[in-house]
Structure formats: structure tokens, C-alpha cells
Amino acid sequence: MESNKGILVVGLTQRGKLIPAAYELLTAGRALADTLKEPLAAVVLGSKVSDYAKEFIERGADKVFVIEHASLENFNDELHAKAVAELVEKEKFGKVLIAATVAGKSLGARLTVKLKAGLAADATEVYQNGTGLKAKRAQFSGNIISEVQFASATQIATVQPMTYPRAEKQAGRTGETVSVAFNPGFARIEFVSFQAEESNEVDLGAAEKIVSGGRGLGNADGFKAIRDLAHAIGAAVGASRAVVDSGWIPYRHQVGLTGRTVRPKLYIACGISGQIQHLAGMSSSGTIVAINPDPECPMMQMASIAIQGDANELLPLITAEIKARKGAAAA
């Protein structure tokens, strides 16, 4: 099938701010654009988002479409899909990259049907070879990597956050900005309110560092030491399913197939033995540190750095050591 031309990166905003993974898409998109010798475009959607156009251009986009409308302030499955689909149909983009966040995955699903366009969900790699676009994604809790190929004129991938580095700013880079009118029409989903949760904490999905706790902490109080270390190094707090099910910490902290998939540079697993569902959510992390009394457990076997011992004893010592070093460095 004759492919459409051009790559579109979708810049979703949440609570008025661009999601950080959008700049990661620019890295993936720029590589595709250079391989294919096609232009890289981006679209940014929200209620007041035009300021991001310059940012996108400086980070690699050749052209930025700005769709500003009050109805796009909060993610709405139908309206966001309508806005992006209208743009893709008008401009006949060949490839559409979306970050695989809650909103991005919902958008990708709606677009694949609306545009009759193939979709690779949660891609961990997107590349072009001699026979077309390919995307890799995990299945079966990460035990299987499947390679997706496309047979449609437009091809969509939702890309796992933290898979690609964020595109750097290149001062003075120029490009075109186009404002696009949007008529939402009748909306069947009405946004009522937003309840922020633990806003002082780093979001798991976008975290470069995660300190995660499991059953080995003994009880819910064990998470105090996890949070102390997380705060000391600017990390997000993760957890295994077992402790979430036990009510030690809310579900949103759960890492794994049933919870969130994460790809931080550093993952510190404390008292987590490493059930396959948990490993599925974090095995792509850069460096994995495991702290566990059982050297034979799956997490200790998989770890880049394994420390045999009790997390409750080791965590305060590690946090104190880090604080002492930082204090010494600052002095």
C-alpha cells in the first residue's frame, strides 16, 4: 500500500502542562524523519498551549500545529481523537507517534479505528527498515517481544514513556507554526473535576529513579524508609502488588503488569522477591539494585547490583550515607 508522508508527534497536555514524554517522541520522530527524508511535524493540543510551539521546533520539529480550544484542556477520548484525526486526514501524515500514557493509549485506540490505521501499542522501539515501519512491543508480561508491521497508509505507535531520551534544545532552530481551528461539536463526556494525589511525589511513569518496596519491609511503616531514600535522591516511590493488596500503600504506586510499567535509569527494589508480574513492569530499567535477604530470589538474580540483607536495616544506612556525601559535597 502507498504510504502517506510525514511524521506527526502528538503533544498531549495535562493540567495545562505538556507531558514530558512528548520530547521523547521528538527523538524517535526525528530519527524516522531523517531515515525517510520526510518532514517531522508535531501537534500540541490544549486550552493555552501555543507557547510550546517554539519549544517543539527547537527540539527538532520542522512544523508545529497548534490546536487550542477550551474543550481540549482535559483529556476527552472523543474530542482529542477528533482533533488529531482531522489533522492527520488533512495533512495525510504517514506516521503518528503518541506517548503511551493513560490519555495517549486511549487516544491511540480511538485513532486506529477512526483512521483505519494500524497501531502498535506500548512500543519500546519504533524504526524504519527496508520493508516499512516496525515497532517492538512486549507481550506476556515481557516474556515475549513482538515485532509489529503495518499494512495501512497511516501508521500509529503509542510509545512507552522513558524509552527514548528527551530531544535536546538546539538554540536558533527554526520552523513553521500553524494554528488549527477546532470545532468540538457535541461532547458526550463532560469533565467534572480533578483530584490531585500526593502531588509532592514524582510520577512513576516519568521517573528517572524509583525506590520500590515489597513484602520484605515487614509492614506499612517500612515505607517511611523507602520515602526517605526516595526524597534524598529525587526518586518516585514504587511498590509490589503484594503490599498494595495489603493496603500498605495506594494502588497508583504499584509497578508491574497489574500496575504501571516503568523504565527508570535506576530502580531500587527493597524486599521485593520479584514475581513475574512485577518484573514485567520494571525489567527494562537501566540499573536494578536489589536488597533482599534471599540471594536466590528472582529479583536478586536479575539485579545489576545485589545486596543481601534486610531492607529495614540497610535503607536508613544508605539514606544517611547519601545525605552525608551530599552534605560533604555541598560544604
Partner: protein, 267 residues
């Protein structure tokens, strides 16, 4: 006022520890045992809870898959669902979210024509494909509103549902015009086990099988159900071997770990 609920379920392997046939690049399916996708248990439970909340409501379990998938419909009935339907046929064997959601939407249209459907519930994702796309794609095929990541159905009647959507940074509260498709998270409830009464009902239930022609689908529609597909499968590369941090005391181990993390510029 009562609800007519549809809950979509899938029969999936009970293990994710599967292997690839290197000759074909496909997953070896022989010897695998199948059961209800564990995430679908939450959707089934929520359907049963909605029935309990609004007496007179009915719930139908719907699946697409090979004939053997009938067992997953019976499992749903054993958990309190009233009836079930299986959509089956070679046209839907591709096992991709696009064709599965197309088949589900066609069946939901048929159910909707018999008696208007209020709400369609899905699990978060399947434990085999893992994409989490089917609920939102079904909404798109039906041109109904779709909400993913639903952790609570706060209020519902036959016209409007107020739902809580778990986002990365908190919870969105949304007012959704029905009918709509909702994909649930595991936070929405705690599934109960099948009851003895349910198991009896499941055994006795007649589970109709609908084919593409029963759903009024034509060859042209069915020929366009794979805009993307899995070319081949492989196992992920092994992680590089790790190192052990040894020490005579916990303090020494802690200090050594911090040394390594600083040296590798990880903190």
C-alpha cells in the same frame, strides 16, 4: 429504571511463561491451559455489583475467540452474569485488538438492537497481548464514548454515569453519556469467587455462537481487519550479569552501594 450491561471477556493462557517456536516466530500454544483473563474478573465483578445496585438490571458476557472460548463465558455466568454469547469464526482468528474490537462491536450492536445496551465493561488489558486497547477501540467502532482506567463508577442510571478515571497525576471525575464503554482498573473492586448457584447456572446456560454472517458482516469489512499485525515474536535479550555488594556489616554494604551509585552517576 434498569441497566442492560455487557461485559467483554477473553480466554487467555493461565501462564505468561510462554516460548516461541523459532521456525515460525509464533508463540507455542500446545500445552497451554486457558482461563478467564485475570483483569476481566474485575469487569465481571463490577457488572455483578451494578446488577446488585440497580435491581432488575441484566448482564451479558461476550467473548470473541475459538469455539473453546465458550468456557470463559460460562465462567462469567458462574460469577453472577446472566447470559453469554461467543463470537467465533476464522475471520476473527487474527487475535489482534483491531479485529477483536470490531467483532465485539458488531455483537454489541446486535445485542443493542434486541434490547438497548446501557454500558459495556472491559478489563484493564489481557495477560497475553497486554495492549489494553480493546475497550477503547470497541467504543470507537460503536461511536460511543469511551473511558479507560476507570477506578470507580460513582453514580449511574440509564442515561448518565459519573466515573473516576485514574490518571498519572490523580483522578479525573467525568460525567459520561450512556451508552458507553468503560475499561476498568483492578482498583475498582475485589472480585468474588464463583458461587455454587452460579456454577449450576453456568452448566445449564445455553451459549449462542454468532458467526460473521449472523452479525451481518460482509467480506469487504472482514478483509480490512489487519492494518497492523505481529510479524514475529522473540524472547527478550537477557540482562547483563550483575554484581554482588559484599561487606562485613550492613553499614559497610550501604557505604559500598553509595560508592557504586555515585561512581556510575546514578545519584
Amino acid at each position: 429504571m434498569s441497566l442492560n450491561i455487557v461485559v467483554c471477556v477473553k480466554n487467555t493462557p493461565t501462564t505468561t511463561n510462554v516460548s516461541v517456536d523459532p521456525a515460525t516466530g509464533k508463540i507455542k500454544s500446545s500445552g497451554l491451559v486457558y482461563a478467564m483473563n485475570p483483569f476481566d474478573e474485575y469487569a465481571v465483578e463490577e457488572a455483578v455489583r451494578l446488577k446488585e445496585r440497580i435491581p432488575g438490571s441484566t448482564a451479558t458476557a461476550l467473548t470473541v475467540g475459538p469455539d473453546s472460548s465458550e468456557s470463559v463465558v460460562r465462567d462469567a455466568i458462574s460469577r453472577g452474569i446472566d447470559a453469554g454469547v461467543i463470537v467465533s469464526g476464522p475471520e476473527f482468528d487474527g487475535d489482534n485488538a483491531y479485529s477483536a474490537s470490531f467483532a465485539l462491536a458488531a455483537a454489541i450492536k446486535k445485542l443493542n438492537a434486541e434490547k438497548p445496551v446501557t454500558i459495556v465493561l472491559f478489563g484493564k488489558n489481557t495477560n497475553d497481548g497486554n495492549s489494553g486497547m480493546v475497550g477503547a477501540e470497541t467504543a470507537a467502532w460503536l461511536d460511543w464514548p469511551g473511558v479507560v482506567s476507570v477506578k470507580k463508577i460513582d453514580s449511574i442510571d440509564d442515561k448518565i454515569a459519573v466515573v473516576w478515571r485514574m490518571m498519572e497525576d490523580g483522578t479525573d471525575v467525568l460525567k459520561v453519556t450512556l451508552p458507553a464503554c468503560l475499561s476498568t482498573t483492578k482498583e475498582i473492586n475485589e472480585p468474588r469467587l464463583p458461587s455454587l448457584k452460579g456454577k449450576m447456572a453456568a452448566k445449564k446456560a445455553a451459549v449462542p455462537k454468532w458467526t460473521a454472517s449472523d452479525l451481518g458482516l460482509n467480506a469487504a469489512q472482514l478483509s480490512e481487519l489487519a492494518p497492523s499485525l505481529v510479524a514475529k515474536c522473540s524472547t527478550p535479550p537477557a540482562r547483563p550479569a550483575g554484581m554482588k555488594v559484599e561487606g562485613a556489616s550492613a553499614a559497610e554494604k550501604a557505604k559500598k552501594l553509595v560508592d557504586i551509585l555515585i561512581e556510575r552517576k546514578l545519584i
